[in-house]
């Protein structure tokens, strides 16, 4: 009898858990759903309502407008350049350093490890970093963005921990065959670490794609601004005047265009992300091993 009562209690508990999780899911999905549908609505309908769940007339006007807009196309291209080159630099530096530090017997690796960890606890901050970038003559160049964020300490540490878990035998056989260490890393270690590599490439790509603050900090030429800066001008500069408003650039953006911008900016990441999601928990687990 007590067991039926406890199954009933378990059932209620389970139901409550499911309902809360569903509500949270809805809170994430709903704003995006509205953005997607509203971006296909025509401007008359949006002028009254701003967002619509189901447009009466579906139209591609907003997307046509954006693809004809030089500023949008340029900033999108800039964001792609920053992301592709930046992620390549991130991965090259992080993987090389992590692999070197993962080798037992390399002298000074404890000191270097501590050096890396310490930067997570204490840092010079915005101004001294800006002065270094300025001194190196990197202002107004994408190198400022690429180099200042070249390695995320946390990512490097997790990759290192992962390399440490690889069996030694993997490399021994290649070494006997006379392969150099760089070749071993490239030909043997990286192929077996593919899911790890993909995960971290994605993490870095996300950070690069979403770069906003560093762009306004280090870049002065508006022609070199990435998408996020363009979006700020379109979407946030003048929130009080919705409907038709004139932004800094003198262009007018309708609500449908705003929705389309949001969607196009989020799309590249939202499309690739579900395919990689299964790797995350595995990858993060390795990092939670202390060391």
């Amino acid at each position: 009898m007590s067991s039926t009562r406890s199954t009933l209690r378990d059932g209620v508990f389970q139901l409550a858990v499911v309902i809360i999780l569903l509500l949270l899911t809805l809170a994430v999905v709903f704003p995006f759903l509205l953005t997607v549908t509203s971006s296909f609505a025509d401007s008359k309908e949006l002028l009254l309502k701003n967002v619509v769940l189901w447009p009466k007339h579906w139209t591609l006007d907003a997307y046509k407008f954006l693809l004809d807009n030089d500023q949008f196309v340029r900033s999108f291209r800039n964001a792609v350049v920053i992301t592709v080159v930046g992620t390549a630099i991130n991965m090259a530096l992080s993987v090389l350093m992590a692999y070197g530090l993962a080798q037992p017997g390399v002298k000074g690796r404890t000191a270097v490890n501590f050096m890396v960890l310490f930067t997570m606890l204490f840092h010079g901050g915005m101004i001294p970093t800006y002065l270094v970038v300025n001194k190196l003559g990197l202002i107004d160049s994408y190198w400022s963005i690429w180099l200042v964020g070249a390695i995320a300490p946390f990512n490097m540490i997790v990759i290192r921990s992962f390399f440490q878990t690889l069996p030694k035998e993997l490399k021994e056989s290649a070494r006997i065959d006379g392969c150099g260490e760089f070749k071993i890393l490239w030909r043997i270690v990286l192929p077996v670490s593919m899911s790890m590599m993909v995960t971290f490439a994605l993490f870095y790509a996300v950070a690069n794609w979403n770069t906003y603050f560093q762009a306004i900090l280090y870049l002065n030429d508006s022609d070199s601004y990435p998408l996020q800066v363009f979006m700020r001008q379109v979407l946030i500069v003048n929130p009080s005047e919705l409907g038709l408003d004139v932004t800094d650039s003198g262009y007018t953006y309708t609500p449908a265009v705003r929705h389309a911008v949001i969607l196009l900016a989020a799309l590249p990441l939202l499309v690739v992300y579900p395919f990689m999601q299964k790797h995350f928990s595995k990858g993060m687990m390795v990092g939670s091993v202390k060391g």
Partner: protein, 312 residues
């Protein structure tokens, strides 16, 4: 024969050859090491300009030393109490409500029994981590804009009046906090979930046999199982206690809410980058970092005192 030779070489490594064989590894570490030195440690030592009247044209070597003058100026600054108050309020809210949110979510997900449902919820809730602040703030504006936003139309048709999220300073902190949770809760739960997955299932079985319900199992098994990870993440979080997240707050800032949204991060940007008062803003950065470091060391000590392993 060849096998024996190879074995012999492994047993008795030649000192010189040994270090030469490590040369490739040092070459691999070098670019990363240079990065940390140039972009992390040079700026750290660049903080000495806090004690100077730094002039970018003559550099650190020739700028005049002014001792503690800049610190004095900061603590005497008319806005200092306000900046301190705002920064601590945001940081406090963040630690009080945002930090535990992923733990709660991980507990909920861990309890959900249907695997497909769990995977679906996880996939959706991780996604906001990939969305930039620019997009998140824009979405909020679209949904909540004063007269014609969808939420306000609903509220007014339900007779509840409307809320002007961006014009009223009182809404700034709740909005900021909810946006933080919306973006980071799912992502933050990954580590906790992974740790929960490594808890020995026989513990739960034993508890069930002893008649423990779900809540008591969570309290006595799940929570102790993730305690170490919670403590480590909490200590690391304290290291950036005063980092409110420049981007997010900067995007929410407007003339109407300035008196409650101005924090050290935005102050540094304004004085340092916009007004080029480098030394003065470096002092603020240093003040922030030192507070963080002191908190980390204090928390680490406290954790050890209570029998927990700390971060270091």
């Amino acid at each position: 024969m060849r096998k024996a030779l190879a074995a012999g070489a492994a047993v008795r490594p030649d000192k010189n050859r040994w270090s030469m064989s490590h040369l490739p590894f040092y070459l691999m570490i070098l670019p990363g090491l240079l990065y940390f030195i140039v972009f992390k440690y040079v700026p750290m030592f660049g903080l000495v300009i806090s004690f100077q009247q730094y002039d970018p044209f003559v550099g650190i070597a020739k700028s005049p030393w002014v001792g503690w003058d800049n610190f004095h100026r900061l603590f005497m600054e008319q806005d200092f109490p306000l900046l301190l108050k705002n920064t601590f309020l945001f940081a406090g809210l963040d630690i009080l409500f945002f930090f535990p949110a992923p733990v709660v979510l991980a507990l909920l997900l861990n309890e959900a029994r249907l695997k497909a449902f769990r995977n679906f919820v996880q996939t959706v809730l991780y996604a906001p981590h990939f969305i930039s602040w620019v997009v998140i703030v824009s979405l909020t504006i679209t949904l909540f804009s004063s007269q014609d936003g969808m939420i306000n139309q609903w509220l007014s048709s339900a007779g509840l009046g409307t809320i002007d999220l961006f014009a009223s300073p009182g809404w700034l902190k709740p909005m900021w906090l909810i946006q933080n949770i919306w973006q980071g809760m799912g992502w933050g739960s990954i580590l906790y979930l992974a740790t929960m997955a490594s808890i020995d299932p026989s513990l739960y079985e034993a508890a069930r046999v002893d008649g423990a319900g779900r809540f008591r199992q969570i309290w006595h098994i799940t929570l102790p199982g993730i305690r170490y990870v919670v403590v480590v993440l909490f200590i690391l979080r304290l290291g950036s206690f005063m980092d409110i997240g420049f981007e997010h707050i900067f995007l929410l800032q407007n003339p109407l809410n300035f008196h409650v949204s101005d924090v050290f991060d935005t102050f540094v940007y304004r004085t340092g980058i916009l007004q080029r008062d480098y030394s003065y803003s470096a002092v603020v950065g240093m003040f922030k970092s030192v507070v963080g470091l002191v908190l980390v060391m204090g928390a680490n000590r406290l954790a050890r005192k209570f029998g927990q392993e700390g971060v270091y």
